[in-house]
């Protein structure tokens, strides 16, 4: 059975969301499909932040969107608070907006250009928030302020009047307004009859952040990361955090998963992962982080050519084998399965850099 295995999944009541054997394929004409996500599994405990890193185009955004069923996955399950979201109707998914929010990649284009910022951030409150307008306004102002946008000057402006980083913060504020609004719990329960089924497993709300700080200078980035940490502590927020900046991911995450071409390579807690990367792709990534020091030599000559492995026709066996220095025959004939190499440290590789435990 092909698939990178599930050794890294954790049993227990404190798991908020479990994704199993997720497959997402897109038709691209002429009978071909892009296999964006090819059978990955992961889970996130209540109050935990899962960092997701990996090559551009490897399926990170697709995995995040699959959780909110946008679009519906080709196969696999997404269990949130004990309910498989794939079984729910669009309307039932929509009712979970107070429990699951996603901050999309591309901040400027994800905001409605015709609405004012005040409206954009307040929009979720119109349905789910307190009915009192001034109470809504106070929530919006507080949220804009905490992401470092001046509510008084911003409220009546439209997205194109803001910089890229300001738009990114506005979209963060919009998602947080929803998730930190304590008043909505009660109301959303009343609206959604089916939610009675969902009690019992994992509690809390999930925020899926797709490159939420990529357009921010390092100081504002620090402010937002600190804010997310505070909200996590204050509201028990659970997060999936997709980003390319490996230092940012290490900083915010409790567990990090590394992806390559639609598959998971490695899962571990950040301190272990960054100190003892076991997968050759993780090792390559960590070795490529540019350092803020102009005296460090960089290899400017390196320009790889040749065909890159494509998600519509991925390599057999290990998908990283066309670029791996440790490759052997086994790597092309057999797909590596996820297995433990240490305490809460899992890797899918035939010849990992760390010794395999037990």
């Amino acid at each position: 059975m092909a698939g990178t295995g599930k050794a890294h999944l954790r049993p227990g009541d404190d798991v908020l969301v479990t994704v199993e054997d997720l497959v997402v394929e897109f038709p691209v004409g002429r009978g071909r499909t892009v296999k964006a996500v090819s059978g990955i599994s992961f889970d996130i405990r209540s109050g935990e932040t899962l960092g997701l890193v990996g090559e551009s185009g490897c399926g990170k955004s697709t995995s995040g969107r699959a959780i909110i069923q946008l679009p519906r996955p080709t196969s696999g399950s997404v269990t949130f608070r004990g309910v498989d979201l794939a079984d729910l109707s669009d309307e039932e998914i929509r009712q979970r907006r107070t429990h699951i929010q996603m901050i999309f990649q591309d901040p400027i284009s994800s905001l409605n250009p015709r609405r004012t910022v005040g409206d954009i951030v307040a929009e979720p409150l119109r349905v789910w928030g307190p009915s009192d307008a001034s109470e809504q306004e106070a929530i919006v102002d507080r949220m804009l302020d905490s992401v470092g946008v001046d509510p008084d000057t911003a409220r009546d402006k439209r997205p194109h009047e803001f910089s890229g980083g300001q738009c990114q913060r506005i979209s963060i504020a919009r998602s947080l307004v929803m998730l930190t609004n304590r008043g909505n719990l009660h109301r959303s329960r009343r609206r959604s009859r089916s939610s009675s089924r969902s009690r019992g497993r994992g509690r809390g709300r999930l925020l899926i952040c797709d490159e939420p700080v990529s357009s921010l200078d390092v100081s504002v980035q620090a402010q937002i990361l600190n804010l997310l940490e505070d909200l996590k502590a204050g509201y028990g927020l659970t997060m999936m955090f997709i980003a390319h900046d490996l230092a940012v991911v290490k900083n915010i995450s409790d567990r990090v998963a590394v992806m390559y071409l639609g598959k998971l390579c490695e899962v571990a807690d950040p301190d272990t992962l960054y100190a003892e990367a076991a997968h050759p792709y993780t090792d390559l990534l960590l070795g490529s982080v540019p350092e803020p020091d102009p005296t460090v030599e960089i290899d400017e000559g390196l320009i790889e050519d040749g065909e890159l492995p494509s998600p519509s026709n991925p390599p057999s066996g290990c998908r990283f084998r066309t670029r791996c220095e440790r490759v052997t025959d086994l790597c092309s004939s057999e797909e590596p399965q996820m297995r433990a190499v240490g305490d809460d440290h899992f890797v899918a590789c035939h010849h990992p850099l760390a010794a395999v435990a037990g």
């Binding site: 071909r32 890229g164 960054y274 490529s288 540019p290």
Partner: protein, 365 residues
């Protein structure tokens, strides 16, 4: 080409100011920026989100600024001021001489048109290629920016590509006509570090081969450090510090530059290290402070700073320019800091706390 043109800088920007008029007043987004850029060189621009980096680049390109905008100053490209050129003259320059990679790729790609047409239309227009030549050139371009399976990808709509692929399509389009000046606004934010490395190498090859000059706007101080010749630090529409990259990183003198460095998360920090952020918010650009723009947030602020804005002047190294009355590291700065700390000024207290290293939790704010 006459000698004086060949030796003069490719781009010479002098006292550029851009203002947006909106119902509540005039937003002074760029407030007097000057710099020069030679052929084949790279200028890095870093700065606070909202400090005017994108507006500056667009003002020089004369692109997508809307009708409520006023730009003054000069921006001489190859000796001629672009700010006074007609729209049709600008269209001649776009693509062939000056190109721009936009911060959010979706704002420059048409969501309803397949990638192929967006790339080839551009090629046909500027390079006089027929359709099949343009298609082949498009395949080569996508391959060059490391997009797998370019044949299939050309038939995709922009939303069918990943964020990083869209960004690379924009880079490919910008490079297609071999511009002599490229504005790259956050060109690698959606790329993982290995692909980013390759794309930056591709850009530096273009620079070496054709003497392409580049303005690289980025928040990634690792990219700035490794890939630029000079660095300009912007704050609230003005230049705070401007120096050769090597001297800037060796000796940061502006309190805002210093604060930026303090906020960088490093992979060597333990997970969940509390990061140092600058307290407060940048000033309102409709009514910016009369004195130093950074004064409301600066831990070294003194009375003088609030009353008079510091000019951008050369310091010990003539290539290193700074706009600050009391540079970081000077005895006056230290005295001011201690005074502010004793007075309980929040920005001084925050710095003091954030630099207290604790062995278990790292930097604790």
């Amino acid at each position: 080409m006459p000698d004086n043109v060949a030796n003069s800088p490719l781009l010479e920007v002098d006292d550029l100011r851009t203002t947006f008029t909106i119902p509540t007043g005039d937003v002074k987004a760029v407030r007097g920026v000057s710099f020069t850029l030679d052929r084949g060189r790279t200028l890095g621009i870093v700065g606070e989100s909202g400090s005017g980096k994108t507006v500056l680049a667009r003002s020089i390109m004369r692109l997508n600024l809307g009708t409520n905008v006023t730009t003054t100053g000069t921006a001489a490209f190859d000796g001629n001021d672009v700010l006074t050129r007609s729209p049709s003259e600008m269209r001649q320059l776009w693509g062939s001489e000056m190109a721009m990679v936009f911060q959010d790729p979706m704002t420059s790609l048409n969501p309803l048109v397949r990638v192929q047409r967006q790339v080839t239309e551009h090629l046909c227009r500027h390079l006089n290629l027929n359709r099949s030549e343009a298609r082949q050139a498009a395949v080569d371009l996508l391959r060059e920016v490391r997009i797998p399976d370019p044949d299939t990808r050309l038939r995709s709509f922009p939303h069918e590509l990943s964020g990083g692929m869209r960004q690379r399509v924009c880079i490919a389009v910008a490079l297609a006509c071999e511009p002599s000046l490229l504005f790259a606004d956050e060109p690698t934010t959606a790329l993982d570090v290995t692909v980013q490395h390759q794309i930056l190498n591709l850009l530096s090859r273009e620079q070496a081969d054709r003497e392409m000059a580049m303005v690289l706007v980025t928040h990634d101080l690792g990219v700035v450090a490794g890939r630029t010749d000079d660095t300009m630090v912007m704050y609230a529409g003005t230049v705070a510090e401007y120096a050769p990259t090597v001297s800037l990183f060796a000796d940061m003198r502006h309190p805002y530059s210093e604060a930026l460095m303090r906020s960088i998360p490093l992979t060597s920090f333990p997970s969940h290290t509390r990061l140092a952020a600058i307290t407060g918010r940048p000033p309102d650009l409709i009514d910016p402070p009369t004195g130093c723009a950074f004064s409301p947030r600066c831990p070294y602020v003194q009375d003088h700073c609030v009353n008079e804005a510091p000019p951008l002047v050369e310091i010990d190294d003539p290539a290193h320019r700074l706009a600050c009355w009391t540079p970081v590291g000077s005895p006056e700065a230290l005295t001011a800091f201690e005074k502010n700390l004793a007075a309980g000024l929040p920005q001084a207290v925050a710095v003091d706390v954030s630099t207290t290293w604790s062995p278990t939790g790292g930097v604790d704010g």
